[in-house]
Assembly symmetry: C2
Homo-oligomer: 467 residues x 2
């Protein structure tokens, strides 16, 4: 460990010096992928440092994927690094986006829910953010209003009117820390432990997990080609107090909720005094016609809560989403927002408002819609040319992923699991629901597949796994 | 309304054009404080626009305090603007930090919980933030780890060890969106509806509000000169499952929890299988001796959850706080953080980590401790010289505010209410609790009082109110 010459008089804390020196040693090849590194206890002894200091450095190296714990075999330089381009010697530590102890990874092929980050206008964003942070005055540093910055709420209201046919005032809009925070607010404001809640099946398991953790009774409701089967919900869980739906492109089947079903759902909610949560996470991304107006725009009884997010149309790390609540519920949500002090940092909210007001937002969504239409087609073509015998590759009218129904004897779960072992981010449709008769299908996002050749290459990797 | 020449071909949305033109007209004096502005409906008619467009502009003008709704009398240019310096013609709209419909205000004299924002190193902060946002790569834009950025968790662990005597690993640290989000996580992770929870009385009412909204039974426990009276809690709510305490400087009395009480509280928690939440929001701000080590550092049974925040040591708009949880609870909190997707934007977390790692954080806290010691003394002296006959002005060893016990017949509530009418942010001690025998006292923050002359001037305003 000759490279570990620490400087105890330096301003940089010792754990960071250790961390930096290890990174450099790995980047320069002094330490090779697979090499074992000393146990924290031993190294601490050798360097005359507290064990915690070395452990902190190792935790960071692990979190960023430079080293891997191997149980009895100790800790080694991550073997997979050998397959990657040389590691930059001093990347920003803040770029480590993984749980402590989990190996780092960039976006994996087919990973769901991640927009095309390479196409995000990072320079414009950086310019707006730098400008906003430099313009910060003491008055901007106090508690932001719990419901969100007025400027952002106004910009969202204007956008929703134009793009999603939603007629609402800014006071109906509540800024949250993401979709799950929006869901949590709804459970706090309108539901109580023990209440039944319809969820789509197949659906989005994190929604069910959250509802269960919040004390709700989750009632899975079947989905067919027209979306949520309202009649099934009425039959199987008639006393439910809420329904969580994805009307634009059902998650994960990508079908749209038909107009008769929309009306049936609204009728049910009005009669049952139940709430409808419209999760419109990717409503913008429709490729065969104009995006459908939101279900909320049909609501005459004040039963629909519209949930939007910036994770898919900007990027997930921003942690900003919003709820549109019926006028009669505004006061209740204001109370809940104040009590639980939701809402993100003022700076991020201000930057998003600027991004919207200066036209970058609308432009970016338009560009992404074109790009995704292209990537959806080239991914479908590329995969179809290789896997057509085994799977039905038929793109849906909207969404950010493909649903590949399996033709043969292969089960989606086994295949998806083996694909994950090989570094791909496949999901199995049958894992997304609990009711019987869910078809075997792979869920593969196309948002980060740049070319048909890349899709074919990935298709061949899948074929090899199936062989 | 000649100044309202809109440009329908401009990129700027029409509501923003209206908003900007009104601001300029007010700034330039075309519209004077007290002037009535047209009703939204009438103006929309006149301009040939949708009423909602004008309403959005008015909402923003109201939110930023430019105009005020006066019920039947219509909407007027805020009369109070006459007393202020001329309004800058084009300030950043994102600086409006108020609920839609509430008039804007800067920090009021004596406002609690607001650090000395004028002394925050804004330039350093802006430099770090601008650097971080420019260095953002696609890998930084995916979902940040739910528990927080490793770099920030590591920096906090190192800081807590040094400053608060807390021995923990980074994996015990969970980044949240603020103190109330920390509290919410705790209720989700460790408590269930109906559980009893001790709160200090007098205490911090938002904590009780949150607990009640989360379904807990709030049990107020008396506070004396040694802090929370553990024996009173045991007698009045023996079955409680948690106690929320502010051991460093009790909120709002500023007394420290004595060592015997600390040990008694820990004993109770161990025997009752209850949790102690140590809210250490201002533990750094002690002026008569070194900050006391955290209660958590005495915990041998894994019963203490330590709650820290950046609202007071950096600034509130950042919306970042953290929890230190006992090792045995790490897995449970990881599950809850994943389920509810807590944790703020990656960018803000990264900037705070950089701010800490580059030494600015420790330096800032040291400077603030000196500044607050000074402001505490000059505020106490200034108020004492004017109000000494009516109140006992005796600074506490720590905290960010003074507790002025009233000597005469005046009740704190009536006086505080009248001070608020006059634009000061006084709080009455008796409003901070529900148990009998809470003394009449004013709670006045000194963090933003710059000079003894200013304190005297404010003291005279209070004297006039009392006369």
């Amino acid at each position: 460990m000759d490279f570990l010459q620490l400087d105890s008089s330096a301003a940089e804390p010792l754990y960071r010096q250790i961390y930096t020196r290890f990174r450099s040693a790995i980047a320069e090849g002094t330490l090779q992928p697979g090499d074992r590194i000393p146990a924290a206890r031993a190294l601490a002894l050798e360097l005359g440092l507290a064990r915690g200091t070395v452990e902190s450095a190792y935790a960071l190296l692990t979190a960023e994927g430079y080293v891997e714990a191997r149980g009895q075999a100790g800790t080694v330089v991550t073997p997979a690094l050998a397959r990657h381009a040389p590691v930059a010697p001093t990347p920003r530590p803040a770029s480590a986006h993984n749980n402590l102890g989990e190996a780092a990874s960039s976006t994996k092929p087919f990973q769901m829910g991640i927009p095309a980050l390479d196409a995000f206008p990072r320079k414009v964003w950086a310019r707006l953010a730098a400008r906003a942070v430099r313009a910060t005055q003491p008055a901007d540093m106090i508690y932001p209003p719990w419901a969100g910055l007025p400027e952002l709420r106004i910009a969202i209201a204007a956008y929703l009117q134009l793009s999603r046919g939603i007629d609402c005032t800014p006071s109906q809009i509540f800024i949250t820390n993401g979709y799950r925070n929006s869901m949590e607010l709804i459970t706090r404001a309108l539901l109580k432990p023990g209440d039944g809640v319809w969820v789509e099946d197949p659906g989005y398991p994190p929604t069910s997990d959250l509802l269960r953790e919040a004390g709700m009774q989750v009632a899975p409701v079947q989905v067919d080609a027209e979306g949520l089967m309202v009649s099934h919900g009425v039959a199987s869980a008639p006393g439910a107090k809420a329904a969580i739906v994805t009307p634009a492109h059902q998650s994960p089947l990508c079908v749209s909720l038909s107009l008769p079903r929309r009306l049936a759902l609204l009728d049910w909610a009005a009669q049952a005094g139940a709430w409808i949560v419209e999760d419109d996470y990717d409503g913008e991304y429709r490729y065969v016609s104009r995006p459908l107006p939101a279900l909320q725009s049909l609501d005459r009884d004040g039963r629909v809560l519209y949930s939007g997010t910036f994770s898919k149309v900007l990027f997930p790390a921003i942690r900003l989403a919003y709820l549109v609540v019926p006028p009669a519920q505004v006061e209740r949500f204001e109370h809940i927002c104040r009590t639980f002090a939701t809402g993100g940092p003022a700076l991020m909210q201000g930057v998003v408002a600027d991004f919207m007001n200066e036209g970058h937002f609308a432009r970016h969504i338009q560009r992404m819609r074109r790009l995704y239409a292209e990537r959806r087609e080239l991914t479908a073509d590329g995969l179809s040319s290789v896997l057509g015998k085994h799977m039905q590759v038929e793109p849906q009218p909207g969404g950010m992923h493909l649903v590949l129904c399996m033709k043969g004897y292969h089960t989606d779960r086994a295949l998806a699991a083996r694909m994950r072992e090989k570094g791909m981010a496949a999901l199995a449709l049958s894992e997304r629901g609990v009711l019987p008769h869910i078809p075997s299908a792979l869920l593969l996002a196309f948002t980060n597949i740049e070319s048909q050749a890349r899709a074919q290459e990935l298709g061949k990797r899948i074929l090899k796994i199936m062989a």
